[in-house]
């Protein structure tokens, strides 16, 4: 969105998202469960990073930590130049938005109204949308390819249509960073291709995108960066080509997956 682009011109050197010495996990009273460690990560506007790893490797935990929903055990997450722990919930909400795996059952709500909820951090106490807010909602619907769904009730949309609406809602927050947790999980193959294409397009328009996914081929074909969780609970930050040729994919997912990954690089 134009807002994001203006921001970047003002601070060309600022990565949207950066981390240092990150360790993520859970702290409960005395017991601390370390889920994952990582070297420095950096994501610039226009880049798509895919977070790959086996089930239970800690993809969602890392995403929650990057989103500010969870405090890291160690290290720091820097969002738009400021450490997360220096930012209020509101300041975080206008810098990044999130699409979760589970679709919340919101009941009867037109898609346009659901996308309007994304204006939450930008509206006053009454939540009334101004002309500007309505404009952003329409832009977001269009950017997510969901303008034709605007007047439909969200409880009557297909899974793919609903995911577009949820992405439009996230865009209505006018974030510079979009975090998605397995956005293709419930989609058919056609919708998966469309969704990955959509995320690539959004990044090309200036957004930074991080998505956790199991879609190895699609991810490698569309991503700029690969964040791969290996068997030793360590995050490897690399590129699609290096992830495949360096043998990382084979190490984590096995030789069959690596073969598949090789072929998908050809689609880049």
């Amino acid at each position: 969105m134009s807002h994001a682009l203006d921001h970047d011109r003002a601070r060309p050197d600022a990565a949207v998202l950066a981390t240092t010495g990150l360790a993520v996990g859970y702290r409960r009273r005395r017991a601390t469960t370390r889920v994952l460690g990582s070297g420095p990560l950096a994501l610039a506007p226009g880049q798509v990073a895919v977070l790959l790893g086996p089930n239970g490797a800690g993809k969602s935990t890392l995403l929650r930590t990057l989103a500010g929903s969870q405090v890291p055990l160690d290290g720091q997450v820097v969002l738009g130049g400021d450490p997360l722990d220096h930012l209020s919930l509101h300041e975080i909400a206008i810098r990044r938005s999130v699409v979760l795996t589970d679709y919340p059952d919101v009941g009867m709500l037109r898609a346009r109204d659901l996308v309007g909820l994304g204006r939450y951090p930008h509206t006053g106490w009454g939540g009334r949308l101004t002309d500007h807010d309505h404009g952003v909602v329409e832009e977001s619907l269009a950017a997510a390819g969901a303008e034709h769904l605007a007047d439909r009730s969200v409880d009557r949309l297909s899974d793919g249509e609903r995911q577009r609406v949820m992405i439009a809602r996230a865009l209505a927050q006018e974030p510079r960073l979009l975090l998605l947790d397995e956005p293709t999980a419930f989609l058919d193959i056609g919708a998966r291709f469309e969704l990955m294409g959509l995320l690539r397009q959004l990044a090309d328009d200036g957004l930074a995108v991080v998505l956790a996914t199991h879609e190895l081929e699609l991810a490698l074909a569309h991503a700029d960066l690969v964040w791969l969780i290996d068997g030793r609970r360590q995050l490897i930050a690399t590129t699609p080509v290096a992830a495949v040729t360096g043998g990382h994919i084979a190490d984590v997912f096995g030789p069959k997956a690596a073969e598949l990954a090789h072929r998908s690089l050809a689609h880049r």
Binding site: W125, G127, D155
Partner: protein, 349 residues
């Protein structure tokens, strides 16, 4: 439906609900054991003299406080139910999910079943002192339970935990009440059971001076929090990513909903059904989950339905009166089922 079509539909539906409130309120003043003509009611209300002296007393001292109590109680329970259903994202939640009724009933049970002097007065007929005692006991009992739930709501990460604890508190107080009943003498039991039927008829003007401001303030607070309630529609995890301070929001919702439901229970006893049914009716009639519309709709619908139930419970033209709690569900439940079945298949939350 197009955008403007939906907006027109909402305005029309809200107007109809407002009209139904005016009509039911008027009927509640007109109908009763004696029928007082509408023009006579109007004369009394503007301070004029009715054709018969008794009518003035009936309208001003009996029917008007009763109608105001019913309207406020219906509005309060409707809105509190809406808040609970949204907070817990559960269509079966109602204002008493947090154990408010259980707490109130424990307070009243302790007073009427185990209490000494006050209970005697209560059993010997509903004297004023006893009624005030019951109101206070119910209010204190409800407040005790809510405080417990509030402490929890500010601490735990998951709202479902709050729900489960509310239910457990309900079971615990329920069993204490059972024990009290088991050992109490029958006369006292009947006084306690009578409280359980609920009534809009015992609230006095003096009590309305407390009841009205509490309910109005809590209703306004809820209306002002429509933005947060809307964000909560997406679930707490999404709401938090949009900047909602979840624990603060949760505590705010619990406080306002408890103030509404607790005050009603203290003054009118446990009034069931309205809290769960009114929000469903409002959603079905307005075809939306937007709280900026649902809160006022629940106020208007809740008040109308409560007044209608009270009119039926009066059995107009007859000395017989029926317990309000039996009427609300008896006429309301089938209506809700029909409305829900006719609405969209997934309108239940």
């Amino acid at each position: 439906m197009t955008a403007t079509g939906a907006a027109q539909h909402r305005v029309a539906a809200l107007t109809a609900m407002g009209a139904s409130l005016i009509v039911t309120f008027g009927l509640a003043l007109t109908l009763g054991s004696v029928l007082i003509p509408l023009d006579q009611v109007a004369t009394v209300l503007v301070g004029g003299e009715a054709d018969r002296d008794a009518w003035e007393t009936i309208v001003l001292d009996i029917r008007l406080p009763r109608a105001i109590t019913a309207a406020l109680a219906g509005a309060a329970l409707g809105v509190a139910g809406l808040q609970m259903q949204t907070l817990f994202r559960n269509p079966l939640a109602d204002p008493f999910t947090l154990g408010i009724t259980s707490g109130a009933s424990l307070g009243v049970a302790l007073l009427t079943l185990a209490g000494a002097g006050a209970a005697g007065a209560f059993a010997s007929g509903l004297g004023l002192g006893a009624a005030v005692g019951v109101t206070a006991a119910a209010g204190l009992g409800a407040a005790a339970v809510v405080s417990l739930v509030l402490v929890l709501a500010g601490r735990v990460r998951n709202t479902v935990t709050v729900l489960v604890v509310g239910l457990m508190v309900g079971f615990t107080t329920g069993s204490i009440v059972s024990l009290l009943i088991w050992f109490a003498d029958p006369e006292r039991i009947s006084a306690f059971v009578r409280w359980g039927f609920g009534t809009f008829r015992t609230t006095t003007w003096d009590e309305l001076r407390i009841f009205t401001p509490v309910v109005v303030v809590a209703l306004v607070a809820t209306a002002l929090s429509a933005k947060v309630l809307n964000a909560l529609l997406l679930g707490e995890r999404y709401a938090e990513t949009m900047g909602v301070r979840i624990r603060r929001a949760r505590v705010g919702v619990v406080i306002t909903a408890s103030a509404l439901a607790g005050t009603v229970t203290a003054f009118a006893g446990p009034i069931g059904f309205l809290g769960i049914a009114v929000p469903h009716l409002a959603r079905a009639l307005l075809d939306t989950n937007d709280h900026r519309v649902l809160v006022p709709a629940s106020v208007l619908l809740g008040a109308s339905v409560a007044l209608l139930a009270e009119i039926v419970a009066q059995v107009p033209g007859n000395d017989v009166t029926l317990p309000i709690n039996a009427i609300t569900a008896l006429i309301g439940a089938p209506v809700v089922v029909v409305v829900l079945l006719r609405a969209s298949p997934r309108s239940f939350a």
